[in-house]
Structure formats: structure tokens, C-alpha cells
């Protein structure tokens, strides 16, 4: 059975974005891009909430028509165009991007059915809103957290659940030169 994995950049104090929704505290560089590529290599389907989905849908298809796009961006755009994408949103009615599945209701059943299908993992990219929903439903099997060397002091919490404590097991951790800790956890069984 494939897994549902949450991939998120977080601050040391557990935020996914700062008070203004900003992400400029993430030390994004070639090394992190490379790490993200490794993560993408294990993705069968990316999972988004509606905000992240809109951002992706508005940007990546334009890359396909951009002759100046880097090779990395072009490859990623092609991959995104073809891969089956999952959007979790109660407020959206239609999704127009190629090969996109909208889940509005019965989230647990739908995700469980997707997990039963063969293929590589389902990976949530960012999307703290969707992550919270999936966390509360107990559907997330693994956490891939890139812990950034900053304390924001406020912002949007990365994955506040319903107050239930969740005990995880550390599978691996790795240090990037920028001071990011890339850690992988799974639900304690």
C-alpha cells in the first residue's frame, strides 16, 4: 500500500509561513532544490489544498510555453502536466488542469482508496490547510520536514491538528549546508 506523505518547510517554531504569509525565510538554494527533486522522485501523485493548487495551476503550465525556461523547470513542468494531481478543497467546484482529481467530500474514503492503488506515494506539498484536514483524519503516514534555521514568532501553523498529541518515529535526518535539517518521520505504530 502506498503512503500519504507530508512534505513541508517549517520554521523551528512550527510555522509554514510568516505573519504576512511570506516564505522568504526559507533558505532556498541549489541544494534544497536538489533535495526537493529527490522528494519529487518518490511522488506518484502530488496533493494540494486549494491555495497551493491555484498557485501551481497558474504558474507551471506557462513554463511549458516559455522558451527561456531552465531545463530543470521544463522537466518539472512536463512532469506536473502529466502526473495525476489531487486537490482537496470543499470550496472549489471544478479543476481545469490536465489529469487533476478534486476531492470535496468523503476525504478519508477517497484518500484510502487512492492509497490502495498501485504506484508511488501521495505527497502533500506545503498546503497547511489541507495538511491539517488530513492530519485530523489520521491519514498522514510520513512527515518529511525541512526545518529551517529561524524562529518566526508567529504565522500560519504548519500542521496544527485538533489538539491530539501525535507521537512520531524519526527515520532519518540530514543537514543541508544552509542549516536546514531535512528530517523524515513516520507515525509511531
Amino acid at each position: 500500500m502506498r503512503k500519504l506523505v507530508l512534505f513541508m518547510h517549517v520554521s523551528l517554531d512550527g510555522y509554514a509561513s510568516d505573519l504576512n504569509g511570506g516564505l522568504d525565510w526559507i533558505p532556498y538554494n541549489e541544494e534544497l532544490e536538489k533535495y526537493a527533486e529527490e522528494v519529487v522522485a518518490e511522488v506518484g501523485s502530488p496533493v494540494y489544498g486549494h491555495t497551493t493548487y491555484r498557485m501551481m495551476e497558474n504558474y507551471w503550465p506557462t513554463v511549458l510555453d516559455n522558451p527561456n525556461a531552465s531545463r530543470h523547470d521544463m522537466e518539472h513542468a512536463k512532469w506536473l502536466q502529466d502526473v495525476k494531481k489531487i486537490v482537496i478543497s470543499g470550496s472549489m467546484d471544478i479543476v481545469e488542469w490536465n489529469n487533476t482529481m478534486l476531492i470535496k467530500d468523503n476525504i478519508a474514503e477517497e484518500i484510502k482508496a487512492l492509497k490502495e492503488q498501485p504506484g508511488k506515494n501521495l505527497v502533500i506539498f506545503g498546503s497547511p490547510g489541507a495538511a491539517k484536514t488530513l492530519l485530523e483524519l489520521g491519514l498522514i503516514d510520513e512527515y518529511l520536514l525541512t526545518i529551517c534555521p529561524v524562529i518566526l514568532g508567529g504565522g500560519k501553523s504548519a500542521f496544527h491538528g485538533d489538539g491530539e498529541k501525535i507521537r512520531l518515529k524519526l527515520l532519518s535526518s540530514r543537514t543541508l549546508k544552509s542549516g536546514i535539517i531535512a528530517a523524515r518521520y513516520e507515525l509511531e505504530k
Partner: protein, 183 residues
């Protein structure tokens, strides 16, 4: 000049509730090493009272696991500086009550060349961080999503940029991350 080391536990969702700690031998050894490195301990009232309510009894009775008794006696001997406007006296041996503002008392202790260890609650930790008085941050990241609780340094007003200086995974799944502030 001395050094100020702020040591805190934190869960993956940024909660620094001291009850969310996986206590094991490795954590104990780390605590011993940190104590040995330091000339004194700095406390806010709450953590001080919490510790005072348990450790001196272990030390004086001498009962229980030997490593705990040793630790209790080590705590007895260490100078303990307690920030509190509410308390009028502190009775645990080698304790000193600090009534002045943190911004004055701490630099004074530092000027004496002391290495001070702060086992911070969120209040004092935030104050020290905000004042730029912390030289080293040690965060023990627990493999836990707490779901609720006080936020790590929740009282700071400005973003705190850090430089990673060390990592050490513990067998419990906790990871010790050390940082210095980016000034």
C-alpha cells in the same frame, strides 16, 4: 565575557511544553554535560519552583537511582539565579534572587565571565532572545506533534535568524540542534 546558553525542548509544531519530553539516559547525560559546562543556571520563577519542589528532596534523602541523586546534588552545588518580582526569598542552597530587569542583571553576570545555562520557560527565553543576550541556542526537537501548548519563544517581536552549529540525533528520536544567532 561569559556565554549565555538557552536550552529548550520543542515539538515539531513548535510547542515548548516541558511535559512533552522523552526522558532517557542520553538526555540525562546531555543535561549533565551542559551543567558541567556552565558556571551557573538561570531561571524564571515557574521553572525554578518546579525544580525546587522535586530535586532538593532527592538530594537530601539520597534514595532512588544513583544517577538521579548525583544529578540532584550537582544541582544543589550550582549557583542558581532566579528572576522573580513576586518571590521575596529563595531557600534552595546556592540560589540567588534577581529583582532587577533582565536587561541589566544578565549583562552584569556575563561581565563576570560566567557561562550561564538557561533552562528556559517561554517567558524568560523570549525576553533573553529579544534582548539579544543569547549566545547559543540548544533546541531538543522531540518527535512529537503536540497539538497545543506554549509556542517556542512565542514572546519575541522580531524574526530570529539562526546559524546551525551542530546536530545530534538521540536514540529516542529527538534531535539536538545547536545554533548561534545571526547578528
Amino acid at each position: 565575557m561569559g556565554r549565555l546558553i538557552l536550552q529548550m525542548n520543542v515539538t515539531l509544531d513548535g510547542c515548548c511544553d516541558h511535559t512533552q519530553v522523552i526522558a532517557d539516559e542520553e538526555l540525562h547525560q546531555y543535561s549533565v554535560d551542559m551543567m558541567d559546562r556552565s558556571d551557573g543556571l538561570l531561571f524564571g520563577r515557574e521553572i525554578y519552583q518546579l525544580m525546587e519542589s522535586s530535586w532538593p528532596a532527592i538530594s537530601s534523602s539520597g534514595t532512588g537511582p544513583q544517577f538521579l541523586v548525583d544529578f540532584a546534588r550537582k544541582l544543589d552545588r550550582k549557583p542558581k539565579y532566579v528572576f522573580s518580582r513576586r518571590l521575596n526569598q529563595v531557600s534552595w542552597q546556592n540560589s540567588f534572587l534577581l529583582k532587577g530587569p533582565v536587561s541589566e542583571e544578565v549583562p552584569q553576570l556575563m561581565a563576570e565571565g560566567k557561562t550561564l545555562l538557561v533552562n528556559g520557560g517561554p517567558g524568560l527565553g523570549s525576553t533573553l532572545a529579544q534582548l539579544g543576550l543569547v549566545d547559543e541556542y540548544h533546541f531538543l526537537v522531540q518527535p512529537i506533534v503536540a497539538g497545543r501548548g506554549p509556542q517556542l519563544l512565542g514572546g519575541i517581536l522580531d524574526r530570529l535568524n539562526l546559524k546551525l552549529t551542530g546536530t545530534k540525533p538521540f536514540g529516542s528520536g529527538a534531535v539536538l540542534l545547536s545554533y548561534t544567532p545571526v547578528r
